[in-house]
Symmetry: C2
Subunit: 112 residues, 2 copies
DNA sequence: TCAGGTACTCACCAAGACGTCAGTACGGGA
DNA sequence: TCCCGTACTGACGTCTTGGTGAGTACCTGA
């Protein structure tokens, strides 16, 4: 994302955190379907590539929104889940998600 | 912005609309300070360049979020204001803005 | 022995978002 | 007469974002 600091308002900061192409989808999927393994997450979001998923997950983890639990097994198993902090974001994001859902037809129509 | 259609959830659509680098700031400024002339808006957001401001305003106008009122005067006068639709977005955006405001220190600290 | 599944990493590339800078038409004021 | 301020437009370049496709280590089961 195009970092824009220092932030002029809270919105800037929030969109900075959630503005990656797949971050909203990842957050929404993790909230909806609970802890998921990497492969499960990838299958839950078919359009994302492995590289992008990993990149977005790393950034969400760095921001403290997502927890990464490694199980030392073979084959490897890594589980991703929302942190408490991530859940507060999810709550703050919900009205925006509802707005987008309610106006999706309009948005798709007006976008080139 | 990186359009991501068809949208998988409302959040995608909403972030598509509001994800431009300056759009949140513009929306917030217009909501906060009422109808503003182009020059006033530019002075209210010092870091933005003219070209970017115009571009973002055009997109917000195309999305029906901002109204552009032209006064046929010399020197020219153009006033921008939120539409009713834009105001519904602003309402949906507020929890996210509050979240960003409340966690700004944390966000600034964890971002490289 | 060898393919398969796990969760990655890395090099390279294309598209587009963003920025810089110059230029436009118009009339008012010095 | 010339410069100023208004609200733009357009060419050009750069830098970030995201995508492609390859390769990695490990153990399991056939």
């Amino acid at each position: 994302m195009a970092r824009n600091r220092p932030y002029t308002c809270g919105l800037d900061a929030a969109i900075d955190v959630v503005g990656g192409k797949w971050k909203a989808t990842v957050l929404w999927t993790l909230e909806d379907q609970g802890p998921l393994r990497f492969g499960e997450l990838r299958r839950a979001i078919p359009a994302v590539t492995e590289k992008m998923l990993i990149q977005q997950l790393r950034e969400l983890e760095a921001d403290g929104l997502v927890h990464r639990e490694i199980y030392h097994q073979v084959p490897p198993k890594v589980e991703y889940s929302l942190t408490d902090f991530g859940r507060t974001l999810e709550v703050a994001l919900r009205p925006l998600g509802d707005w987008g859902h309610a106006n999706m037809a309009r948005i798709e129509a007006t976008h080139p």
